[in-house]
């Protein structure tokens, strides 16, 4: 078990969003969390990534308890978070952004190896390496955010809303790049509003509603589930 989240309760200030959320991810799995707006999908991600400290519950990563660690400490353990807002360094070039992604790696040659790997994965970023991140289009920024998340050679990637604010064909290409990462042996937890798309590509899925895990199972089964079809797919 790579990541085990048990009975997680979390929220903002006095407002509790997550209620007893539990989930598990094995190494090499592609797992999706789907659910409507305000279900607590992003909150789950932020809590695992250490940006929100949980009220109770535990997060165990690689057999190590990481509950309540700061975001930078979680990043050092090998979890990389690609946030919905991307949080790029807009006044830095593409290459500088990528190097910042490898901040936890100290050796220069290892950083360059990672950089070559990311450039191979996203040739588009290699073409634009001298461009400022703030001047790129939405799809390119998303690629850069995912590429930056790859730079630290993480064992788990948390990807929040990869299709957020993107045109449909760009969404397809972003999902295709995640597919390539999975083929390279990466473990990915992805959060999405686009239920059809997510359940089509992932291995397993969790359905989050009102801060609780409503359903869980193989993505293919979930896509066939009559409740999911009725509520999310409208068929």
């Amino acid at each position: 078990m790579l990541l085990e989240v048990k009975n997680l309760n979390a929220g903002y200030g006095y407002l509790q969003i997550l209620r007893d959320v539990s989930l598990q991810i094995d190494k090499g799995e592609y797992v999706g969390i789907v659910g409507p707006n305000g279900a607590g999908k992003s909150t789950t991600m932020k809590t695992i990534a250490g940006l929100i400290s949980p009220m109770s519950g535990s997060v165990v990563f690689n057999g190590e308890d990481i509950t309540g660690l700061s975001g930078s400490a979680v990043a050092k353990k090998g979890i990389s978070f690609v946030s919905e807002e991307m949080n790029l360094f807009v006044n830095m070039t593409v290459q500088e952004n990528l190097y910042m992604g490898a901040y936890t790696i100290k050796e220069k040659h290892l950083k360059n190896e990672r950089l070559d790997f990311v450039f191979e994965l996203f040739p588009r970023l290699a073409e634009r390496k001298k461009q400022l991140a703030g001047t790129m289009s939405g799809g390119e920024r998303k690629m850069l955010a995912i590429g930056r998340g790859m730079m630290s050679n993480p064992s788990l990637m948390l990807v929040d809303e990869p299709s957020f604010g993107l045109a449909p064909q760009l969404t397809t290409s972003v999902f295709a790049s995640l597919e390539v990462l999975i083929k390279n042996g990466m473990t990915i937890l992805v959060v999405e509003q686009n239920v059809t798309k997510t359940l089509a590509v992932t291995d397993r899925g969790y359905v989050l509603e009102n801060g609780k895990v409503g359903l869980e199972g193989n993505s293919a089964d979930l896509a066939e589930d009559s409740y999911v079809r009725k509520v999310f797919l409208g068929v």
């Binding site: 990534a49 250490g50 940006l51 700061s70 975001g71 930078s72 990043a75 050092k76 990389s80 978070f81 946030s83 807002e85 991307m86 949080n87 790029l88 360094f89 807009v90 006044n91 830095m92 500088e96 190097y99 910042m100 992604g101 901040y103 936890t104 930056r148 730079m151 630290s152």
Partner: protein, 342 residues
């Protein structure tokens, strides 16, 4: 090809930054021809030191969103530290005029000021800014501003209580003949003060541009969440930034001790001047602050020369009002996102 360069140059001159820099250079040359090169020398020495204080202020504002109104007090701490280090050294020099301290003593005092400022900055973060940040970051700009004003009053009065209100000055750092450049005589102290500030500003720029830690500081200033998720320890970077900013002000105070003696409220003038620079060049713009520092210094020197010594605050203040009315983002601020917009 050359036509392109000319076209680029004219386009640049027509921007706010280009226009004001061109005017500044023309004014500087005209005034130098009219009154003499000492005017240029004064501008360069004052500007170099002002650049140190202003980059520190920019750093506090750009990285930490703290409108620092206690920055002058770190200038004061620097000059006080340098005074108490250099006084015994100069007594020793009087008895042993051949000692190596004649040359290197002043450097020890200035280095002491730098270290003193860095330590004072770190203590302020631990005792003042850190606790506020951990408690709440709501309404951060206003709260931290009020905190810095309080810190300023506290430090000024601590100086008065412990060291007294009298002037603590020295005759000079380096003895020796003034250097003559194009008919202007520059004392060794002034020349070295400028060299020190130029070297530090250059080192600081290289540090911010190329080193891992410098890039982490820039990353924090651009997106603090992004910095956290790539694994940058925010607390460590904040501590480092505050002590760096305070050290820059302190080294300026230390190396200007031969001109400006230390007394409790000595920091007010550099503080106001540095704020003029920061408003002129745009909040949080480090390179702009260096250029802006020389422009404000020029304005001050010209005012003293042509209008009168009592007017050296009036003219820059009037200019700042005009800038705030017509170009609130500052003259170099057009392509830089305002820090306070975040």
């Amino acid at each position: 090809m050359s036509k392109n360069i000319v076209a680029d140059l004219t386009a640049w001159v027509r921007t706010a930054a280009g226009l004001s820099m061109t005017i500044a250079v023309i004014v500087a040359i005209a005034a130098t021809i009219h009154t003499g090169p000492y005017l240029l020398v004064n501008t360069i020495v004052t500007g170099g030191m002002l650049a140190l204080v202003a980059t520190g202020l920019t750093l506090m504002l750009g990285v930490l969103n703290i409108p620092m109104f206690a920055h002058g007090e770190y200038f004061m701490i620097g000059s006080l530290t340098a005074y108490y280090i250099f006084t015994p050294i100069s007594e020793f020099i009087l008895e042993h005029p051949d000692s190596w301290l004649v040359t290197f003593g002043p450097f020890i005092a200035i280095l002491g000021a730098l270290i003193g400022g860095a330590i004072a900055g770190a203590i302020s973060e631990k005792l003042v800014f850190g606790p506020l940040r951990r408690r709440s970051t709501d309404n951060w700009v206003m709260n931290s501003f009020l905190l810095t004003v309080g810190l300023s009053v506290l430090l000024v009065n601590l100086h008065q209580l412990i060291f007294g209100a009298d002037f603590k000055g020295i005759v000079g750092y380096w003895q020796g003949m003034p250097i003559s450049i194009a008919g202007a005589y520059i004392s060794l102290d002034r020349a070295l003060a400028f060299i020190i500030s130029a070297v530090i500003v250059a080192l600081f720029y290289l540090f911010m541009t190329y080193t891992r830690t410098g890039m982490a500081i820039r990353a924090v200033s651009q997106d603090i969440t992004g910095a956290e998720i790539v694994g940058i320890d925010i607390e460590k970077i904040v501590l480092l930034t505050i002590s760096l900013a305070c050290a820059l002000a302190a080294v300026s105070g230390g190396s200007l001790l031969f001109m400006i003696p230390s007394y409790p409220s000595v920091g007010l003038e550099p503080l106001y001047m540095a704020w003029f620079v920061v408003i002129l060049s745009g909040l949080g713009n480090i390179l702009g602050a260096v250029v802006g520092a020389f422009m404000v210094a020029l304005l001050k020197v010209i005012t003293v020369e042509y209008v009168g010594a009592g007017w050296d605050f009036v003219v820059p203040s009037a200019l700042i009002m005009l800038i705030l009315i017509f170009k609130p983002s500052g003259i170099f601020g057009s392509d830089v996102r305002g820090v306070l917009d975040k």
